[in-house]
Symmetry: C2
Subunit: 163 residues, 2 copies
């Protein structure tokens, strides 16, 4: 797998070099980053774990408002929620591995348990995760708020703030 | 995208519930985790970024030794290398988004610049990243060493140590 992976990456990097910069300014980076968010089924959530080690977990990409807010559904009893209660600094990462594009958003997370937020992300069948339904105390909504982001495509990457 | 994603996730979770536990012990988790590493083209590297915020970046999955060691190629001048110099605590994450499987490995990273390590990951064409070739001072090898891991499939996850 690895040789093939590197070959493809090199080919894509060479093509991106030939084409010139694929992202030239912050507006491009934000627009292309948003496109990546919109077509992603999952994203990776990074949190500060025990003993100062970073942790990563894949989350379903359920709802977002531009690049400023991203909502996740999770179990209140999960290790992730316990970590966020202690330290709400986080990052969210979206990747298109076929086209060598990636978006990292850095920000903070709020843990929500109000009925409105719970209903917003609920779907028929979600009892498989939260047996007691939409009011299950083990059902929490995470709301991530972006401070800054970094988008890359090929060899180029651009950092931006999100107001 | 989001409704469809959640539907698929619910269906997969229900199937996994019907089948019973897909991973029953640490040996299963390690074996299935290794399988995921072997078929992955990329993985996500988590590091401690500025101001205590976690950072994530996709890396090419080039070489590994079981689940104990993972090697990456990167630019010495990259933000990632500067972060690791200050704090070498890290995690590596592999995901199979179609089958709802994921592996998180937690450990530390060494930055290597010896000729042997450089040659180990080198490939014809890699000059697109490191124009001066295998001895380019801007070419570094990262060696990640695992302390512990967590593998999940469906609704079940298992944590293990790697000696």
């Amino acid at each position: 797998m690895s040789e093939d992976t590197l070959k493809k990456a090199i080919k894509s990097a060479e093509e991106s070099k030939d084409k010139g910069d694929l992202i030239t300014n912050k507006q491009d980076a934000i627009a292309q980053g948003l496109e990546l968010v919109e077509k992603s089924a999952i994203c990776m959530l990074g949190t500060n774990g025990d003993d100062g080690f970073p942790n990563i977990k894949a989350m379903l990409n359920l709802k977002h408002k531009g690049l400023k807010k991203i909502w996740f559904s999770t179990n209140t009893s999960s290790r992730r929620v316990q970590q966020i209660k202690k330290d709400n600094r986080a990052c969210v990462y979206y990747v298109d591995e076929k086209n060598f594009k990636g978006l990292m958003l850095v920000g903070t997370i709020d843990i929500l348990q109000d009925v409105e937020s719970r209903k917003m992300l609920w779907m028929e069948g979600a009892e498989v995760y939260y047996p007691l339904g939409v009011e299950d105390p083990d059902y929490s909504v995470l709301c991530f708020t972006t401070k800054s982001g970094n988008y890359y495509h090929g060899l180029k990457n651009i950092t931006f703030e999100i107001e």
